[in-house]
Each structure stands twice: as structure tokens, then as C-alpha cells.
Amino acid sequence: MCSALINEHFFSPKNVGNISDPEAVAGAGSVTCGATLRVSLSVDESQRITGAMFKSAGCSYLVAASSLLTEQVKGMTTAEAAVLGQFPKRSVVEQFDGWPADRNHCAALACEALLSAVKRYSDSVREEWTGDEALICTCFCVSERTIENEIKTAGLRTIAEVTRACNAGAGCRSCYSLIEDILETVNSEW
């Protein structure tokens, strides 16, 4: 425990608990170091995170990482939170002074749980979608029709190209396999 910020987030962690009636809950665990973590999120209709809480049984660094992350995501869209969860170095390690290198996996675990929660949220929105067109990317509200059109018009062949064209897959990436399916279907017709 070297930095004041780490100390603060460890000895007085923020957001400890479970969101009652959460829009998403996910867990992460490490078989090697034995740490476990649960993150729960409440999300409003505009896909903004209104609440984030965590519970953990893991080392002080995991607690500090989780405290910081849950504090940061409040007010972000799920897409923004997903990006945070994909880059533990930027989101956690570099936020603290003197985060030990042998604790990078703790930051990664906290990010993994957060990202997992956002993916669960995206999955549930996709499933419950009642619009005319199938929803593929929840984070950026991109429909199947839009993606198909982009692929046909510009002759796209990869997910990365689709993302550049219409943002689908730029958030939590839970729609990657769906985009892959669409690419296959459309391109095999040619």
C-alpha cells in the first residue's frame, strides 16, 4: 500500500454492496490467486449508468481497483463503461501512483467484471428489443438492417471495418459474433 489514493480506495472503498434490482450483475474470479468479485449496475433508459456497486473477496488492490472503477462509471453510458473495462492499464493502473506491476492482474480482474456486467446488460436489451428491426449493437443502437446496408454498399469484409463504418461493436463487443454472422451471410451472397 504505497500511495495515498490506493490507501483511500482500500481502507474507505466506495460503492460496496449490491444494487437492488440491478439492470446487470456479473462476476469475475481468478483461479490462480483465488480472488472473486461481483459488480452490479443500474442503468436508465438512455443507457446511462445510474449506480454501480461491488462486492469482493480479494486483495487490497482488487478492492481499490473496484472502488475506483465503480465510482468512475457512474453517469457514463454503458458503451463508455465498456471501453473503460477493456483497458485496465489506462483505467486503473495509471490512475494510481505506484501501482505494483505484480498486481496488474487485480486491475484486469476488476475491469473484466465491469465489462462482463455491461455485456450482460447489452445481451438483455437485445433480447427484449421489440422494435421493427433486429437490434445488434446495444451500446450504439445499431440495427441489423444498418449493418447489412453498410456491408453491401462499401464491400466490408471485417468486424473492424463495420465498426468504423457505423460504430457497431465499438462498445462492449458482445455483438461481435452477430456481426460476424451478418458478414458471412451478406458476403456469401455475392
Partner: protein, 394 residues
């Protein structure tokens, strides 16, 4: 500072420092030298040897050889026996030995030796039948510790020695590092061939240990040098350290201070186990089979490094068996060998008391610990399990 980590190392006793001091300031000279300076150093070493002999109950001073540490003593004992008996390729040891024995035997396994690893039960005790059954004509050595460093469980080395003696020609090595100074030892009455001890566990500084070699036992030398220690262990005698070890042996050999340690440990353990619902003892509840200073307690469903950090913040030093905290990211091998559930092993704390602990130390620990555990229980994702546990506790 409340120091409850005496099994890790101990504070150097003022009496020991006083004994050592002249040999850091006034007296110097190589104990092997022929001039009077050297001879004075030599007699200091021999005086210390007598003190160690006395504490261990060895039959003769010639049975004590000074080393640099417990790990050296263990390594020498095992390697020395193997080298001296090249036709014997079988070793018997346990899953709960200290790394100095365990990791060495694992390495020897890779080098072609056959190792039988004895298991322990849920209370940390050995099954002596499986030891008897494992003995073979080609068993070079049996190595079993006297006291486990994590749980404090004591192995019946008297009985084990008898079993080894009557069923084989193997030698019996005991890692006594954690036990010396905590429980009485009388090696002249035991069928123990080799016995390791370490100074820094009994209020001498780090950097000195000893190996007891029963008269008649032969083993190859480990450190070959200038004929020191009757040609058995090379290297200029570390006189100040050796003097320290001798003084420490004399200190802990006196009955004073031991009863208080036992009483404080019992009090701490009883209070924690009765008042904190998710607390459970690791190691046999039979206190005659455990060191009087050690209490290894699991706080299930919370994590040990967290507990340690909070106690540290409160000025209390302990150890944990949690994987998060170990450099190898492995949870305590002893607790794993005892089949302690993962969620409990992760939350294990070892309290190991010593002669400098007081009633106030224990009172203060008991004052802050419940609050720490409560805070971490609220943080635990095992909320369902904890609710059930707390409900049952009443």
C-alpha cells in the same frame, strides 16, 4: 507495535545483544587462529555449543554443528545423507514440511530420487501406518518436522523415530526450527539422527543455525572449506552470531515467560472462535498437540491479505495463508494438504505469539479484530453463505 508474527521471526533479545556485543566491538580474530585473540573466540564458540547442547538435550557437545540457518541445516542433512548412501534412492517426507525440505525433495524427485509424500488429515495430523508401510530397504532418510510453522501442529517424533528404527535402516531427520524454544526437547531420549534449528526463531539474529548429528551418524559435508567445526562444515565461524545463538538458547531454556505466552494464545484463540461467527481453527483443537504460541484461524469468505492490511494499519503484525499474499500466488500448502476449503484457506490468519507479548497486546487485538472482520464480511460476494453462517451462529 503489536507483534504477533513470531513464527516468521523474533525480536533479538536484549540479553542476546548484550552477549553478542563484545564480539562485535572488543573481541575479534579468527577462532581458528593460534594466538590468544583467536583462542578467546574459539572458547566463545565452544561455550555457545554447550548452551545449544543443553537446550536440545543432546548427549554430547560434539553432536552440535553451527550453520548459517535452518535451511542450510535441512539441506545439509538431506543431501549429506543421500550423498553418503548412494545406493539408497528413496526418501519419505510430508506434504506440510517447510519449503527448505519440501522444495528440496521436489527438486530431488526431478533428479531421479523417489519421494513418498505423507499426507495429513483435516486436523493436520499424520497417519503413522502409512509411514510404516512406506519404509523400504532402500529408504535413505525420513524427514518429518517437529512443529508445523503455519498451524503449530506437533508431530510425534518420539513414536516416528521408533517406527523408523524398528522397521528400516533409514536415518531420521527432524526439522525442529519452529519448535526449539517453544516446547521442551530431549534429543538424547529420542531416536532422532539429525535435527535442524534456526537462531532467529528464538530471539537470536538471522544468519545462524545448527544441525544436531547423533553420535555415529555419518553424512557427507555440504560446505567444504578450512576444516572448521571439526571438518564437518567449512566457513569461518560467525562468532558474534554463534555467541548470540548460545545466549538465546540459554534464555529460552529457562521456564520463565512460557506460561504467559500459552495463556495469552489460549485467550486470543478462545475469544476469536467464540465471538466471530465465520472463524474456525486450522489444526487440531487438542492443544497438547500444538505449539503453545500459535493460532491459525480462518475467517471464511473474506480474504486474508485484506485482514492483514487492516491489522497492520492498526499496528498489529500477523501472517496470512492467502494466495493473494504469497509471492508464488499459491495458497498455503499446509492448509491445502489439510483439505481446508478454498474459501477458508483464503481467509486464514496466523497469530504467533512470543515472550514480549502482553495482556494489553491481546486485549487490543480483540478490540479491533471483530470490526475488521465485520467490515470485510459486508464486502464479501459470498453474502448468501455468510448470512446462513451468521444465522446459525445465533
Amino acid at each position: 507495535m503489536i507483534y504477533l508474527d513470531n513464527n516468521a521471526t523474533t525480536r533479538v533479545a536484549p540479553e542476546v545483544i548484550a552477549a553478542m556485543q563484545p564480539y562485535l566491538t572488543e573481541f575479534y580474530g579468527n577462532p581458528s587462529s593460534a594466538h590468544s585473540l583467536g583462542r578467546e573466540m574459539k572458547s566463545a564458540v565452544e561455550r555457545a555449543r554447550e548452551q545449544v547442547t543443553e537446550l536440545l538435550g543432546a548427549a554430547d557437545v560434539s553432536e552440535i554443528v553451527f550453520t548459517s540457518c535452518g535451511s542450510e541445516s535441512d539441506n545439509w542433512a538431506i543431501r549429506g545423507v543421500l550423498e553418503h548412501n548412494p545406493e539408497k534412492k528413496h526418501i519419505i517426507t510430508t506434504f506440510v514440511e517447510h519449503e527448505a525440505v519440501r522444495n528440496l525433495c521436489a527438486r530431488l524427485e526431478l533428479q531421479g530420487y523417489e519421494v513418498t509424500w505423507l499426507e495429513v488429515d483435516g486436523k493436520g495430523e499424520l497417519d503413522l501406518e502409512s509411514l510404516r508401510a512406506a519404509l523400504r530397504p532402500d529408504t535413505a532418510l525420513v524427514s518429518v518436522m517437529l512443529a508445523n510453522n503455519e498451524t503449530g501442529v506437533l508431530f510425534p517424533i518420539g513414536e516416528i523415530g521408533r517406527i523408523v528404527r524398528s522397521n528400516s535402516n533409514a536415518l531420521f531427520h527432524v526439522d525442529g526450527v519452529q519448535a526449539v524454544g517453544k516446547v521442551p526437547i530431549d534429543l538424547s531420549q529420542l531416536e532422532v539422527d539429525l535435527f535442524a534449528l534456526s537462531g532467529h526463531k528464538l530471539h537470536a539474529p538471522q544468519g545462524v543455525g545448527a544441525l544436531y548429528i547423533k553420535t555415529g551418524v555419518e553424512l557427507a559435508p555440504f560446505i567444504i572449506g578450512g576444516g572448521q567445526e571439526s571438518g564437518r562444515r567449512g566457513g569461518t565461524s560467525a562468532v558474534p552470531n554463534i555467541v548470540a545463538l548460545g545466549a538465546a538458547c540459554e534464555l529460552v531454556g529457562s521456564p520463565e515467560g512460557h506460561e504467559l505466552v500459552r495463556h495469552l494464545r489460549d485467550q486470543l484463540e478462545d475469544e476469536i472462535l467464540s465471538h466471530i461467527p465465520n472463524a474456525s481453527l486450522n489444526g487440531t483443537p487438542d492443544r497438547t498437540k500444538r505449539l503453545p504460541n500459535t493460532s491459525n484461524i480462518s475467517f471464511e469468505y473474506v480474504e486474508g491479505e485484506n485482514i492483514l492490511a487492516h491489522l497492520n494499519e492498526a499496528g498489529i503484525s500477523v501472517s496470512t495463508g492467502s494466495a493473494c499474499h504469497s509471492s508464488t500466488r499459491e495458497s498455503s500448502p499446509t492448509l491445502r494438504a489439510m483439505n481446508v476449503p478454498y474459501t477458508a484457506a483464503q481467509g486464514s490468519i496466523r497469530f504467533s505469539l512470543g515472550r514480549y507479548n502482553s495482556e494489553q497486546d491481546i486485549e487490543q487485538t480483540l478490540r479491533v479484530l471483530p470490526g475488521i472482520i465485520e467490515k470485510l464480511v459486508k464486502m464479501s460476494p459470498y453474502d448468501k453463505e455468510l448470512r446462513a453462517l451468521y444465522a446459525a451462529h445465533g
